[in-house]
């Protein structure tokens, strides 16, 4: 039996699968970046993290199961690399002041709102910079979940798989993370008002 043509055919099929994988992964890069930008501490970090993620994904493409969620698979690699980079050591010292409650930001903005009570207009009192800065001030454990769910549109269970934590932990970190984000926004809005 002639094994060589079979081997050549196998290699050709594999090459085709790999190229398709690479194209699919690259097509998702905008969506992955949107999340990576805020999981990382800066644009430079996000840039490096994306390159490390794609280098690793291209090397280990065989471990991706076709038909499963490739965006979640890429972000799993990315969050692991982000943790490996030692950024956990930069975690803000505990304890942060307690983040009031969920109504805190609205109440503060509305108080200083020159009588503006329309909810959409109240939101506009925050600038894009306020939001990006406030997000980066949320400690990583909480920020990871807020970024994956609120910016990346991942479900609780996808976020749990990506971060390798229980769904209940995703929910509690998400709620706390959103509150911390609002507290940070309230602080920057108040600074601007004074």
């Amino acid at each position: 039996m002639d094994a060589e043509p079979e081997e050549a055919q196998r290699l050709a099929t594999e090459a085709r699968d790999r190229v398709r994988f690479e194209e699919d992964a690259l097509a998702l890069s905008d969506q992955v970046y949107r999340v990576a930008r805020h999981l990382a501490n800066s644009r430079e970090d996000a840039d490096e993290l994306m390159q490390e993620t794609y280098a690793r994904a291209f090397r280990s493409w065989r471990s991706f199961q076709p038909g499963t969620n490739m965006r979640a698979w890429l972000l799993r690699i990315l969050t692991n690399l982000n943790i490996d980079r030692g950024r956990r050591q930069q975690r803000a010292p505990q304890m942060q002041p307690l983040e009031a409650n969920d109504y805190f930001l609205y109440d503060r903005l509305a108080e200083n709102g020159d009588g503006i009570t329309d909810e959409d207009r109240v939101v506009e009192r925050l600038s894009q910079d306020d939001i990006v800065t406030a997000l980066s001030a949320v400690p990583h454990d909480f920020r990871d979940v807020v970024v994956l769910v609120d910016l990346g549109d991942f479900s609780y269970s996808d976020a749990a798989q990506i971060l390798d934590i229980p769904v209940g932990t995703v929910m509690s970190r998400l709620h706390r993370g959103r509150r911390i984000l609002k507290r940070e926004l309230a602080e920057s809005a108040l600074e601007e008002a004074t």
Binding site: A15, R18, V19, E22, L26, S29, D30, Y33, R34, R37, H38, R43, D47, M50, Q51, Y54, A55, F58, R59, N101, D102, Y103, L105, Y106, D107, A110, T117, E119, D120, V122, V123, E124, L126, S127, Q128, I131, V132, L135, D150, L151, Y156, L174, H175, R178, L181, K182
Partner: protein, 76 residues
Amino acid sequence: MKDPCAHCEEMMQPYLDHVLTDEEMAAAEAHLAECEPCRRRYRFEESLRVYVRKAANEQMPAELRQKLAALRIPLE
């Protein structure tokens, strides 16, 4: 009895994430229908989420796109 507005505040995130039970959802909606301050705050939270997503949306730099494409493993 629990302060209904305080309870409504606890329900806000799960309500907007659509993870309340039917019963909890009905209770939250009944309170929102009659409490304008809570209704305003819920609407604010919804607008805030949309606004944060929009404000945080940064385009990937073109150079990075090229760098990623260059990482593909060459065909032999």
